[in-house]
């Protein structure tokens, strides 16, 4: 009995991975073949980009602020509070900016995609779309994937910038240190590999968020309860996958651009 359960679970897992691979490959390739739904891409870019800007901005600002608070406390023991700017900017740009933006956008948009598409599945709107001769992958999934990739790229820049600003706010107004020194250290310590590392990650995270959100949405079964289940799976799996892929990407990028 237990073996049967393990077998069934393993088969389901393999089947899900296989379905997801085919689904994401087809969605990605659709961008290079007409018809391409540019108006849908713009609408989704607005929903994902403009809609997520405030949460990314706030989370970036306060993460930078917390980093400055924590690091200043530790660095002061070594008389090195002058490098707070360097610490905050490198940490934000290389790691926290991309990952936090990814997780915030996943929480907001993977859930929204899964629930929207899931509701369309259970009300037969997806079948109606197919019956009307329109490919839901082209019409619904591909614009979301590319909107999410492009918008997360810019949202990460916003998160990085506001993170450094947040650190600067704490440095100047709470730690009463020199703001010019903070910002000049933050700027001078940055190298191109840091920026490349920070801007490559959101491309992968954006793809993960939209493809997983849409994948679970379109696989919804079981009515409104199923929509809730799909939403949870989309948020949980995309958040975890963002962190896992971040780890793998960091490994690869550190080999490509080793630290001095």
């Amino acid at each position: 009995m237990a073996i049967e359960v393990i077998e069934r679970t393993a088969k389901n897992l393999v089947l899900t991975v296989q379905d997801y691979s085919l689904f994401s490959f087809r969605s990605f390739m659709n961008l290079w073949r007409p018809p391409i739904y540019w108006p849908d891409f713009l609408v989704q870019s607005d929903i994902i980009g403009a809609g997520s800007a405030s949460i990314v901005l706030l989370s970036g600002f306060f993460t930078g602020a917390v980093l400055a608070l924590q690091s200043a406390a530790t660095l002061s023991q070594f008389g090195a509070t002058a490098v707070t700017g360097q610490f905050v900017s490198i940490t934000m740009i290389r790691e926290l900016g991309p990952v936090l933006s990814g997780i915030m956008v996943a929480g907001r948009n993977a859930s929204s995609m899964a629930s929207e598409l899931g509701s369309m599945v259970v009300t037969e709107q997806i079948d109606a779309m197919r019956a009307l001769g329109v490919d839901p992958l082209r019409k619904l999934v591909t614009p979301r994937i590319f909107a999410c990739i492009s918008m997360l790229f810019f949202l990460t820049i916003v998160a990085d910038a506001f993170g450094i600003l947040g650190g600067g706010f704490v440095t100047v107004f709470l730690n009463h240190q020199n703001g010019t020194e903070y910002f000049s250290k933050a700027w001078e310590s940055l190298r191109y590999p840091d920026i490349i590392q920070g801007l490559v990650k959101p491309l992968f995270s954006g793809y993960i968020i939209a493809s997983i959100g849409c994948f679970y949405g379109l696989r919804t079964t079981g009515g409104t309860q199923g929509v809730g289940r799909s939403t949870i799976q989309a948020v949980v799996n995309s958040s975890v996958l963002i962190i896992v892929v971040d780890f793998l990407l960091t490994q690869v990028l550190l080999r490509l651009f080793p630290l001095l």
Partner: protein, 282 residues
Amino acid sequence: MSLTPSSDPSPRQPSGQPLDRTPVLAFNRVSIAFDGPPVLEDITFSVAPGETRIVLGPAGVGKSVLLKLANGLLRPDEGSILLFGEEISHMPEDQLFPLRTRAGMVFQEGALFDSLTVRNNVAYQLIQERVPDDEIDARVHEALRFVELDETFGMLPSSLSGGMRRRVAIARALIRKPELLLYDSPTGGLDPVTSTTIIELIIKERDVYHTPSLLVTHRLQDAFTLCTHRFDAEAGRMVPLPKGQTDPNTTFLMLEEGRLIFDGSLHELLHSQNGFVQEFLQ
């Protein structure tokens, strides 16, 4: 009760020319299962031009599945399905899309896109085909007038009643003048008065455009109304056929536990010796 076809049983185009009898839809020994016993097993039937076929059967017998197989929304495990003469059971999805645009489908609950207005729902296909806005508006008004809902042009589906949503769904299915219509329980969950309005529209469509159609329902009254009424264009409403006559191009199929147990006219249905048919009729 004795019912006979009202006149010449061969369907005719509006011009009066006899229609080509090559089926627009043909199922040949089709079976499908979903992780269990077959939902449909060994189903064979066809829909000829100008013909209306009514699929009867209790809830959960596989009627909606049959309809989704008809335009490739589902794939059969066995057997073949010919839609407009093309085998679709193994056709890639990309090739199915243009074929589906030639068939209109009315879903059980309407399946209108709830974020789009009635205009954009009805014009959905035309918008994707980048038809000019003026032409879209004219054709949407024409389709909405056919279902007598022209005033809903700019409304959202959420502000429509259940019956109005079905009528908008019919308008959406009709806008491209389909070569086949698929109705999935179009009166399911509606009150008797609204059901009659929907059936009248289906009769109007059948007698005005002569589009072949496949309609699934579990409501005998609707099925019988379809068979015993015609649309009077002058009066603008449906009228009963003379007593004892039925529409010769409206015939019945009946499903029992996934198997096709009856295929014939209303007269044959009423005189069937099959125990399940008799029980269903009673």
